[in-house]
């Protein structure tokens, strides 16, 4: 298992290199001159020339790429002129906010999606099944930006229960404060987190609930379920201990894949709720052709996605003892 994990980690290096090349080429295909963006409509020709020289934009692509890779090999992600920060500073300053949002959204998705899916499967064809699948259909079809605005209108403008925008203290800091006897900080953090995390999590909850339902239905018709009932086990025990565990494998792998979609959804959600994460940063970076920053953000997203999927693969073995990695 450790050998397997190490191999997978090593395989990430060529993957990340591939992504760097791809992003680099894509940015050059779509065109757009960073120097022009930086100087605006009123930049003078002398300035443009000086800036292009500084940014190596007057050099062939291969030279630009070699310079970037050369720095990267030394652990230098470059400097973002637009943010007046190093890329490492800019990305690490925002990473925590996005991770917090994505993880809480994923938790919400699991907490809503799994029970709803079980409910729908167990009450297959009845009202609660239809209700659950209606919710799923809504959740899947409602775009994040629309859902975000609606939730904000309901909970922040009309009911005034929750703040509309911004982030409280980071959740980890707030939890430490809780143990120091100051629960207000945690409440404030959760209040700020609620709307963006629900906005982001509902779509994933919908997909998870549908998957849980169909996997459960498949498993419910298997022989061992009848055997379990024949042994005299109660319905709760059969459903949760036998059926759910066997139905969980595709669900876990789906959760891993959804994490990538959550990171993508964070780009929109963060813009709506003024959440200071990587999503907002990446939109700004792309609009400004801030190449080192775009590379930095994409690499971070890719790395997170790869790591989550590695964890998911390792979790298989825990769920299904028949799976062994060596």
């Amino acid at each position: 298992m450790i050998g397997y994990a190490a191999r997978r980690l090593l395989l990430m290096i060529p993957m990340l290199f591939g992504i760097i090349v791809l992003v680099f080429l894509m940015l050059n295909v779509i065109g757009g001159d960073q120097a022009l963006v930086l100087l605006g409509q009123e930049g003078t020709p002398e300035q443009l020339e000086a800036l292009r020289r500084e940014l190596l934009l007057d050099q062939p692509l291969t030279v630009q790429f070699a310079a970037y890779i050369g720095k990267l090999a030394q652990g230098d992600l470059g400097y973002s002129l637009f943010q007046s920060q190093s890329v490492l500073e800019a990305v690490s300053g925002r990473l925590g906010a996005t991770l917090e949002l994505a993880i809480v959204a994923l938790l919400i998705a699991i907490l809503i999606g799994v029970p709803l899916g079980i409910l729908a499967a167990v009450r297959h064809g009845r009202a609660s099944d239809i209700f659950a699948m209606l919710f799923a259909q809504l959740g899947i079809s409602m775009p994040v930006f629309w859902m975000g605005i609606l939730l904000m209108f309901l909970f922040a403008v009309t009911l005034d229960w929750l703040p509309a925008i911004g982030r409280g203290e980071p959740l980890l800091v707030a939890i430490v404060d809780l143990f120091r006897g100051n629960p207000a900080v945690l409440l404030d953090s959760l209040a700020h987190l609620a709307l963006p995390a629900i906005t982001l999590g509902v779509g994933a909850a919908a997909i998870i609930s549908r998957l849980v339902r169909s996997a459960m239905l498949d498993t419910l018709s298997l022989d061992f379920v009848r055997t379990a009932y024949a042994k005299g086990l109660g319905p709760a025990r059969v459903t949760l201990a036998h059926v759910l565990r066997n139905a969980l494998l595709p669900v876990v792998s789906m959760i891993g894949l959804r994490f990538g979609a959550l990171l993508g959804g964070a780009v929109l959600t963060e813009g709506i709720f003024g959440w200071p994460g990587l999503g907002q940063l990446s939109v700004a970076a792309i609009n400004q052709r801030d190449i080192p920053l775009i590379q930095g953000v994409v690499l971070t997203f890719a790395l997170m996605f790869a790591l989550v999927n590695l964890i998911v693969d390792l979790a298989y073995a825990a769920i299904d003892p028949r799976i062994r990695y060596d």
């Binding site: 779509i30 065109g31 757009g32 960073q34 120097a35 022009l36 100087l39 605006g40 009123e42 930049g43 020709p45 002398e46 300035q47 020339e49 000086a50 800036l51 500084e54 637009f82 943010q83 007046s84 300053g93 925002r94 907490l111 809503i112 029970p115 079980i118 409910l119 609660s128 975000g148 605005i149 904000m152 209108f153 909970f155 922040a156 403008v157 005034d160 229960w161 929750l162 703040p163 509309a164 925008i165 911004g166 982030r167 409440l187 959760l190 209040a191 987190l193 609620a194 629900i198 319905p235 459903t239 813009g271 709506i272 709720f273 003024g274 200071p276 907002q280 939109v283 700004a284 609009n287």
Partner: protein, 510 residues
């Protein structure tokens, strides 16, 4: 069992919401919260690039002058100035002004600020405004002498740019992220992408502001920002806002609304070097196919105002009598016929010498209103028999193409037009650095030169009116609309003076 599942799903769906319900969203420290559409990229006033940075820097830094809401220069760090010769300006700095680190503001800091802006290596967007400066020297600690290569009337309007502490910057402090100015506010905290919190400067030369603080909160989505204002999370929001939100907020009684003409235009840039567009009559005909009323009313939902010429209503030179071509499809077709364009093969498209009349309209993808406007113009042009194509690309690609004169007709805008020179000289003078349409007209050059060098306000206004007549007649630029500026705030904010640049200094004494 089922009941447990029902409850589980319901509790999970609602628990986060209810757990935190009692918490109030309002800022606890009494600071005024202002919504911003982007985070500032840098707070170094010499290289600032976005509206948030302009507005924050205006609070952190003092310029030599300060611009009033009507765009007149009033004393800032300079308590007085004189203009002994047309090309010489002498500024006397006030005593007692200090930077936030306690060091006094001296003439050397002023000289350093402008010299570094003029250095091409700094990559300052503001450089082009100051290139007529041939020399800037500190005559003594309190006197700055600026010598110009030619008389330059707009200079004063640009001198509100913040003065930076020379020693600190040369010593390597990055004032882009750790700003040190001499303005009424100091940076308290900057959480990138989220909040720029300012606190009053107790040592400001005009006295400490009484407001507890000013926080700029970044909410990129326009509608979300309006909702956050309605929810009480923000005390003040301003353009850019979506038209639907503007209508709704303007109708509410417990909100103070100010809607006024801004300092920007949306316009069509004709590439006069293009063989098809080199004839002013052709440009005139195309301009007559632009239905300004519909674009302003239906697409901009009345937020912007139909433009009559290149002169903005907030400028002293504005004259309602100067009128560029107005919407007249029949008139346009008549001109096209005079120019020899007719539908000789009956395919619905005008042609001349066997060539169809084909034209590309371009704009950028970030602004849906501009895309709609271009598509609407395309439709009208097609109705008139022109094979109009639309090209939409993102801002960096689009602006790159226009700046290299690879466009035919481009729809774009100019902002921050505190002086007519800023909209006209670089853009339409034959030697202008921003003359992407390649327009050259010696009479217009003469008028723009006079506008730039005449210091007498009436003489300047006359020069720009002459220029506007020529532009209305020859149509190198066609101004579709004057951009509007909207600001909404809670009634608790008192003494706020709205101004089209969106500056916030009048919040100081809340």
């Amino acid at each position: 069992m089922l009941r447990i599942l029902y409850c589980g799903a319901a509790i999970a769906a609602l628990s986060v919401g209810f757990a935190a319900a009692p918490t109030l969203a309002q800022d606890g420290d009494g600071a005024i919260t202002i919504g911003a559409d982007v985070d500032a990229g840098t707070l170094d006033p010499r290289v600032m690039r976005d509206t948030t940075a302009y507005r924050v820097a205006n609070l952190l830094y003092d310029g030599l002058v300060e611009l009033s809401p009507t765009l007149e220069a009033t004393p800032g760090l300079a308590e007085s100035w004189e203009n002994p010769e047309p090309t010489v300006w002498v500024f006397t700095l006030r005593d007692g002004a200090t930077f936030h680190d306690g060091t006094p503001v001296t003439a050397a800091d002023v000289v350093y600020t402008f010299e570094s802006i003029l250095d091409p290596e700094l990559a300052s967007r503001w450089r082009t405004l100051f290139t007529p400066i041939s020399e800037i020297v500190a005559a003594d600690d309190n006197t700055v002498r600026i010598t110009l290569s030619e008389p330059y009337a707009p200079l004063l309007s640009y001198l509100d740019i913040g003065i930076v502490p020379a020693n600190l910057v040369e010593g390597g402090t990055d004032i882009g992220t750790q700003p040190v100015g001499s303005g009424p506010f100091m940076l308290a905290n900057w959480e990138r992408g989220s909040t720029i919190a300012l606190e009053p400067n107790p040592n400001w030369w005009a006295g400490e502001p009484s407001v507890a603080g000013i926080d700029f909160i970044v909410v990129p989505d326009n509608t979300a920002r309006a909702q956050a204002f309605e929810a009480g999370d923000l005390d003040l929001i301003q353009s850019p806002l979506s038209p639907a939100d503007i209508q709704r907020l303007a109708d509410e009684t417990d909100i103070v609304a100010d809607i006024m003409g801004g300092l920007g235009v949306t316009y069509l840039n004709f590439n006069t070097q293009d063989p098809l567009l080199s004839d002013p009559q052709m440009r005139r005909a195309l301009a007559m196919l632009v239905d300004q009323e519909t674009i302003v009313e239906a697409i901009y939902e009345g937020v912007d105002v139909v433009a009559s010429s290149v002169l903005l209503p907030s400028w002293p030179a504005y004259s309602p009598d100067i009128q560029q071509p107005t919407f007249d499809p029949d008139g346009a077709v008549a001109i096209l016929e005079q120019l020899g364009w007719s539908d000789s093969d009956g395919d619905g498209t005008l042609d001349r010498d066997g060539e169809p009349l084909t034209l590309t309209l371009s704009t950028h993808s970030e602004d849906p209103n501009r895309i709609q406007a271009v598509e609407y113009i395309q439709n009208v042009m097609r109705g008139a028999g022109i094979d109009a194509q639309v090209s939409i690309s993102d801002w960096p690609s689009f602006s790159g193409a226009v700046q290299n004169s690879q466009h035919q007709v481009a729809l774009l805008g100019w902002l921050n037009l505190v002086d007519p020179d800023r909209l006209l000289y670089g853009q339409l003078h034959s030697g202008g650095a921003l003359n992407w349409g390649g327009y050259a007209n010696p009479t217009l050059d003469g008028a723009l030169d006079r506008g730039r060098t005449t210091l007498d306000p009436d003489g300047r206004a006359a020069a720009y009116q002459e220029a506007a007549e020529i532009i209305a007649d020859e149509v190198p630029y066609y101004i579709i609309s004057y951009q509007g500026y909207q600001v909404f705030h809670t009634p608790e904010i008192e003494g706020y003076e709205p101004n089209p640049r969106g500056m916030m200094r009048s919040l100081m004494d809340n």
